[in-house]
Amino acid sequence: MSARTLYDKLWDSHVVESREGGAALLYIDRHLVHEVTSPQAFEGLALAGRGVRRPGLALAVVDHNVSTRDRRAGIKDPTSRLQVETLEQNCQDPAFRVPYIPLLDPRQGIVHIIGPEQGFTLPGATLVCGDSHTSTHGAFGALAFGIGTSEVEHVLATQTLVQKRARNFRIRCEGVLPKGVGAKDLILHIIGRIGTAGGTGCALEFAGSAVRAMTMEARMTLCNMAIEAGARTGLVAPDEVTFAYLKGRPMVPAGARWDAAVAAWRGLASDPSAVFDRDLLIEVDRLEPQVTWGTNPEAVVPITGRAPRLSEAAGPEAVAALQQALAYMGLAEGQVMRGVPVDVVFIGSCTNGRIEDLREAAGVLKGRRVAGGVKALVVPGSGLVKAQAEAEGLDAVFLAAGCEWREPGCSMCLGMNDDQLQPGERCASTSNRNFEGRQGRLGRTHLVSPAMAAAAAVRGCLTDVRELL
């Protein structure tokens, strides 16, 4: 057989049959379900008198709508509550019987945090979820991608999905990331380089010495934002770091099965002579902390940089788009990013809500205070992340600094609960999207790393975290 990429191997091993128009029916090994994109899928099944074909391959949890304040008080907003209750009922329905982690369970959290945490996510598997940040799980060498609700219904009914094969796009990240610069800065920089549609139709494989040197959590941050470059799938080849992370987790195979699985997983990496449709080299040695200035993730500059000038835009449409973005963000053309005052700091989300992210933020906040007038929200990605952080005393660091320490959920990443920006408020956020209105109508989002968010909290403005290290 000719040389194949990691993506090719994952694809080939899951094709059930070919379909018209260059599509294929793929077998789906793992399906994460949450409350926002599933009710209409279950409704569709019920209307057609269909059941869930392999409920044991699914795992459901509530995350988008949940309050990050006192859990026992319940959910106040009746529409949010109905959506949460609908998922609970659907999972218990005798026709469906989908395993479900309840809101008050210590394992509850954001789908993309709990999948890896529980060992639900495995190398060599196909994994889908009705959420675009499903690309996160590609960090394990799983073929993982976000789907719509009709596709959720197709997976529930058949355990398969009709898909088109993607092109192979390798991003080789070579060198050593400098102090104060991490996976979030790297992925923001990559999106800035290739654009928000640069990966459309592609599976992005992140490779190179900088990726090999990363922890699993950093690799997840990298893959999480593949979709912000237009790629449904991000991938990292599994290696010893992957196996060490997985070993012993609740849903990971043990004993002889573990040995057999690891042996198979070792063969997943792209063959040395595999050909990629596109290849991009990123040298990371001089990468700086990144910050977005505009209203999509490609509008990014180093913290030492400035917003674009109108004279730098190519053509009248680009000028109009730039004017619109600057006006929305309340920035002048050419404005220097360092020193832009912030009202809110959000640390959390499926991009940066894991324990290493919280350690990174706490490292900057330790012994310091959040600047006057700034509201800083720290939202762990799961109950287990929260418990770990508390065991390490990170909650005490955050609280002593003047941050709010919350219950796990998606929170202000998209503000489906009551964690939202007010009109005009400016936020340094560790989340993944800076779209207009994303964190609240007329709210202004600057995407940054956890360390950069913490630095902004301390100084009350966008800050080069390297000054605080």
Binding site: G22, N65, G124, A125, E151, H154, G415, F435, E436, G437
Partner: protein, 195 residues
């Protein structure tokens, strides 16, 4: 699903690039447990002021946009979240085809599953179509758009085209061949029992 062969209707133009799904249908409307009823919230933050009144300059608040069944848009339409609420809102408003230079992958998939055609049209042709006053005819069979005497080709994904022309129920199609899925599962159980 309603098949898509030839559709004739009025068009609204929103030609900026990167119109994302958060703009198409903001988060507060994702709490519904139904597919219908989202049309009045389509492009909510661009369409209404904070007090709920219409923003008169917005394309869907003017004629012919108010009665449009075709949307003309810029490149990378539908980027961002996987929310199928975006095509549901478009469909509920009455949109059957979106004409743009390019689409985000997940949105294009979701649109097709709801009988909405994502048609890839060159920017130059879009500019002419946006300036055309009357109805447009979008012919998926011939992959042509007609605007009066003018006519333009468009590209459609071959898989999407097949589904739309037939109005295919993919779940039904897969369930009819479920024996092949079962055979795959047996092989999978033998080769990768840990899955």
């Amino acid at each position: 699903m309603q098949p898509f062969t030839v559709h004739t209707g009025l068009a609204a133009a929103m030609l900026q690039d990167n119109i994302n799904t958060d703009l198409i249908i903001p988060k507060q409307f994702l709490k519904t447990i139904h597919r219908r009823g989202l049309g009045r919230h389509l492009f909510h933050d661009l369409r209404y002021r904070a007090d709920g009144s219409e923003i008169p300059a917005f394309a869907l608040n003017r004629e012919p946009g108010r009665h449009a069944s075709i949307l003309l848009a810029g490149a990378n339409f539908g980027c961002g979240s996987s929310r199928e609420h975006a095509p549901w809102a478009l469909l509920d408003f009455g949109i059957r085809a979106v004409l743009a230079p390019s689409f985000a992958d997940i949105f294009a998939n979701n649109a097709v599953k709801n009988g909405i055609l994502p048609a890839m049209v060159d920017p130059e042709a879009l500019a002419v179509l946006a300036a055309h006053a009357g109805e447009l005819e979008v012919d998926l069979t011939a992959q042509r758009i007609r605007a009066g005497a003018a006519e333009f080709p468009f590209r459609a994904d071959p898989w999407a085209r097949g589904i739309l022309l037939e109005g295919l129920d993919e779940i039904e199609q897969t369930l009819r061949g479920i024996d092949r899925v079962e055979a795959f599962e047996q092989r999978r159980q033998a080769e990768t029992p840990w899955l």
